[in-house]
């Protein structure tokens, strides 16, 4: 100890003070001693003298060592206090020590004084150092963004750091001394989580636990905090040490991200667009939820190129692979053939990301399900074609009708002009008169035909009923029995696949009747006439197939006109050229389609299709 020790000595007996000074010197202590004898000087010296150690007699007249110790504490002076007194009981000594004295010396045995002074100073230094460390620790705790709380096994708070109070929004003065339970800090719905975590810590299942809890603040707000709880066990006692961090902002960001993710998912689902990313270096692949949805693949299946390619329609695969293989940004429409035979149309667009060396490192792609749009498009094209077909047909119909009306009219005009000739013979006049008569009848007939056709074409107002095909054929057979019998005609039918259809019976009857009677009419005389009628189901359609072994029609030459009005193919057999026209009109009125295959001198086959 090189520096002089400053000693403040409270003593009202000068000889005693000298004795103490001598003893200290003898003990090798280099000191500067200030002796004061009353309270006033003592108090002054505490601040002005700044002693390293205080020695005090007990009884100083009106002043005593109790009072002195109190003053030392009051002045917040961290200086060891040694009692130096004449004699004392053990009880008295213990009392003074308890009050804060660090040692006591009896005046008769002053030899211990020097070592007591040195010891007390060293102890004080140690205490000061510890205090400094403690203050530093507290400083750090108070200045981290983490709050610190301790609570016991009954969940009563043992301590709470300043930061924790700030976090929970407490007013320090109001709440600092309240006996608080941890539950009062935690949002009720999260109590179970906390209890569970504490149970694990208590049983030793876990050493520390991280929890996200909602916490009440003093102003009634709820903040999200992360609690890092660890446990300290001392015999029976358990202390939970907890660091608390405010994560409200993180939570908000997280929620925002989650929200964004959700709205992206929602947007993808609405637009039916899935996306993927392929890391071309690591060969790893990510698919969005909607992509899984479009591909009809469980989300648990890991994405792979092989899986994706296996879902492309075989007819489109070659083209796709050729496009994918090009390492350039591109897009393509194609079909998927999914499990269960589902066919989807998709629009696929992709973009490569390249590194500095122009090497592709990443591939981004979107896949849009355009089945709905594509189906609508196909439907629209079909509709337009149907309409155009119908329109052409109507034009044709209008033309034919006007032509057929005009023909007899022209005859009447021509004949009446010819009748003007005064040189006409009586027989000429008679011929012309007959001509006019024939033409008028013809005119009437055309108008009747027109009426008949328009009736069939118009609004289909007949009520639908289940029509039995075999009954229908039996009826027709009966109605043309004589014809069938006299002409060696055989009518066979097979309706085993489907024998009933919900439709307008008179129309279907007329269709069957016309086709069967045509087959009889245009049979080949030299052979046994066989008419076969069959029903079957093809792709949700009923197909009715009428086959005969008759004269047939040269479709190469007359194909376009087969179903035309007033078209006839066998000049030597009487007919109006209306049968097949009416059949087609009726089939179409019932929503069906008719087609023909025929070979001259072999036979004819009509196929009628109705959607079920």
């Amino acid at each position: 100890m090189t520096q002089k020790i400053k000693i403040l000595h409270l003593e009202d007996v000068p000889t005693d003070a000298e004795l103490v000074a001598r003893e200290l010197k003898k003990g090798g202590i280099d000191s500067e001693i200030l002796v004061v004898a009353d309270k006033k000087k003592f108090v002054e010296a505490l601040t002005n003298f700044s002693p390293n150690v205080i020695l005090s007699d007990h009884s100083l007249g009106a002043f005593d060592s109790h009072e002195a110790l109190r003053l030392v504490r009051q002045a917040d002076v961290n200086v060891p206090f040694i009692l130096v007194t004449a004699s004392m009981t053990d009880e008295f000594a213990a009392k003074v020590m308890k009050e804060g004295a660090c040692d006591y010396i009896i005046k008769d045995r002053l030899r211990r004084l020097p070592s007591a002074v040195i010891n007390s100073i060293e102890k004080q230094q140690l205490r000061n150092e510890q205090q400094a460390i403690h203050e530093k620790l507290v400083f750090h705790i108070e200045n981290t963004p983490l709050g610190f709380i301790e609570f016991d096994k009954k969940l009563n708070l043992k301590s709470i750091s300043k930061k924790a109070k700030e976090l929970f929004g407490w007013n320090l003065k109001d709440r600092v001394n309240d006996a608080l339970n941890v539950y009062s800090l935690v949002y009720e719905d999260d109590w179970d989580w906390l209890n569970d975590a504490l149970r694990q810590l208590t049983t030793g299942e876990s050493k520390r636990n991280i929890l996200r809890l909602r916490n009440h603040t003093a102003d009634g707000q709820v903040v999200w905090c992360e609690w890092f709880i660890s446990v300290m066990k001392n015999e029976d006692d358990i202390t939970f040490m907890t660091l608390v961090q405010d994560i409200t902002e993180n939570k908000k960001i997280e929620e925002k991200l989650e929200e964004n993710d959700l709205s992206l998912k929602e947007a993808q689902a609405i637009a039916r667009i899935g996306n993927w990313e392929i890391d071309l270096l690591n060969k790893s692949e990510i698919w969005s939820d909607e992509l899984y949805e479009i591909l009809g693949v469980e989300k648990t299946v890991s994405p792979s190129e092989e899986l994706f390619l296996s879902l492309i329609h075989p007819d489109d695969l070659k083209n796709c692979q050729e496009m994918f293989g090009r390492t350039e940004n591109n897009s393509i429409d194609y079909r998927l053939l999914l499990n269960g035979g589902v066919i989807k149309y998709v629009f696929n667009k992709w973009r490569f990301e390249f590194n500095k060396n122009h090497k592709p490192i990443r591939l981004y792609g979107i896949l849009q399900d355009i089945t709905e749009r594509k189906s609508a498009e196909i439907e629209r094209i079909k509709l337009v074609n149907d309409l155009m077909g119908q329109n052409t047909e109507l034009e044709q119909f209008a033309y034919i009708i006007s032509h057929n009306l005009r023909a007899p009219l022209a005859n009447i005009l021509g004949a009446s002009a010819a009748l003007d000739d005064p040189d006409l013979t009586e027989s000429d006049k008679e011929t012309l008169g007959k001509g006019i008569n024939t033409s008028v009848k013809k005119l009437d007939e055309v108008v009747k035909d027109l009426n008949h056709i328009l009736q069939v074409r118009g609004e289909m107002n007949g009520s639908k009923e289940n029509v039995n095909f075999s009954d229908l054929v039996d009826d027709i057979k009966a109605s043309i029995a004589i014809l069938v019998f006299t002409n060696d005609v055989e009518i066979k039918f097979d309706f085993s696949e489907i024998n009933e259809f919900l439709t307008v019976k008179p129309y279907l009857y007329s269709i069957f009747y016309n086709l069967i009677s045509n087959s009889v009419k245009y049979r080949r005389q030299e052979i046994h006439c066989v008419i076969e009628i069959k029903s079957r189901i093809v792709d949700n359609n009923i197909e009715l197939i009428f086959t005969d072994n008759g004269m047939g029609i040269d479709l190469k030459k007359k194909g376009e006109q087969v179903f035309g009005l007033y078209k006839r193919f066998h000049p030597d057999i009487e007919g109006k050229g209306m049968g097949l026209f009416m059949v087609k009109t009726q089939v179409e009125t019932l929503g069906g389609k008719i087609s023909i295959r025929s070979n001259v001198d072999i036979g004819t086959e009509f196929t009628i299709q109705f959607a079920i």
Binding site: G414, A418, L432, T438
Partner: protein, 134 residues
Amino acid sequence: MKNHLNYIIVDDDPTNNMICSMTLRKALGKVEAKTFTEPEEGLEYIKNNFNINSNHTILFLDLNMPTLTGWQFLEQYEDFSEEVKMQINIYLVSSSIDQRDWAKSRKNKYIKGFLVKPMYPETILSIDTLNFIV
């Protein structure tokens, strides 16, 4: 010159053919006019009766016939030799004019004109009989 012309009428309507024959007679006096209600028979007649020395003939051809249309008739007609076809001038006759038929007729070198029924004597006289390569 006109008296040397023969006439063929191919039309499925017998009344029309009768009136047409009378109109021809009225316009030209006595004429040779063959009528066919079945176009197939008309073709058969040309096939069997025409040769290099035949008389020049005017053929009135109806377009709308049930078993064989005027156009189908013309397809088969084209198979005849040039000599035969040189003897015949074809006029399409129809009770109404379809623009498509009319346009099509202008492209066919065997068709000399398109007439609308009924035919009056004036119609017959207006036909340019000098239109033959003699």
